[in-house]
Symmetry: C4
């Protein structure tokens, strides 16, 4: 594994997190996630910037993917500098100091039950 894998810059044009219901339970569980893979021998310091259609970008949200590890980031749980707006289209720009691989996904319901 002498070559690097991935890129230092990724963009995801589509994102959407549902708001919560007024009832005691959420009407719908949203588990929008990005999976990050770092195959290098150095920790990857990752900055996520969130873009909206009607306001300035927010960020960076910071996460670290340790060397030789994968990390699943729940976008609906990010809250520093602030939670991602609910019921609003958003997009993500993901930048890392070492090349990583990024995949955008939704947790399936079976997995959500286990979590």
């Amino acid at each position: 594994m002498s070559e690097t894998t991935g890129r230092t810059r990724w963009a995801i044009a589509e994102g959407y997190i549902h708001g919560w219901s007024n009832g005691p339970e959420p009407q719908r569980l949203d588990h929008e996630t990005v999976c990050l893979l770092n195959t290098s021998q150095q920790d990857a310091h990752v900055e996520i910037t969130i873009f909206y259609y009607d306001r300035d970008p927010i960020g960076p949200y910071r996460v670290t993917v340790p060397a030789l590890r994968t990390l699943r980031v729940r976008l609906d749980e990010l809250n520093d500098p602030e939670p991602i707006a609910r019921d609003s289209d958003y997009a993500s720009l993901i930048e890392s100091d070492v090349p990583i691989v990024v995949q955008h996904t939704w947790l399936d319901s079976g997995r959500a039950e286990n979590a």
Copy 2:
């Protein structure tokens, strides 16, 4: 964010918008969309050309993605120069004067209810 993100030219080979029922309500809601992300400091002027299997391409349809913004375009709502043909395969070519990121998607039913 000194580097540009994305490309000035994107193509989507698959598209299809269902026609409407004759009844009072549409039988099926189609919300075929493209998500556009512009991470640059300049507005992106975007031209969409629609290709068919049995007639000449139609376009350009024009949209602007402001600097540092994302935009969701509902393809079934484009109507200048003309609506996209229903019940017909089509493909899209998306060209921009600054690099953008493009993703093709369908609105899920939960999101459609909110819209």
Copy 3:
């Protein structure tokens, strides 16, 4: 549209067409398709080669995508030189004399009803 769009060589690693039932109606409709887009001013002459896990590749299957047109090819309907084996994993290599854009998909059930 002075630039070309797409590539002259595409590969799809996953394919599978279900066999038919013994009854009067197929138990399950399979509409495995590839969408081809030709944004150039010249017709695209396309050759599809099918790879299996247990026998030599078969092909080429030939289709033409006219200039400035899109074409949906039903893989389960190709039969020259021979139909694609049912109930068997296969992969596709798609080669064209002019750059095209290729997308692999399954027709959804609503669209199948209309067809």
Copy 4:
């Protein structure tokens, strides 16, 4: 087919295999697979390394894709050097001595019934 198709290095950031139920039947069938296509005239010797979020990578898992063949690998069936951890996020790095094409997928239920 004088050109090579594909790459010698692929990464899949998302993976997850459910554990088994305690009952007599599995509660849920997981058939997480990668489809590999080798369009070259030489056998492809492939090494898969599995990355976790909380432990060191495991591998290589070795498979061979013969010349001019496609191969579907069931990740939940790999067990040398050890089975992939259940109920745990993982990522895959796939390296080959000749260029191949890789696609990550889940077997659909219809196909699972046939298998």
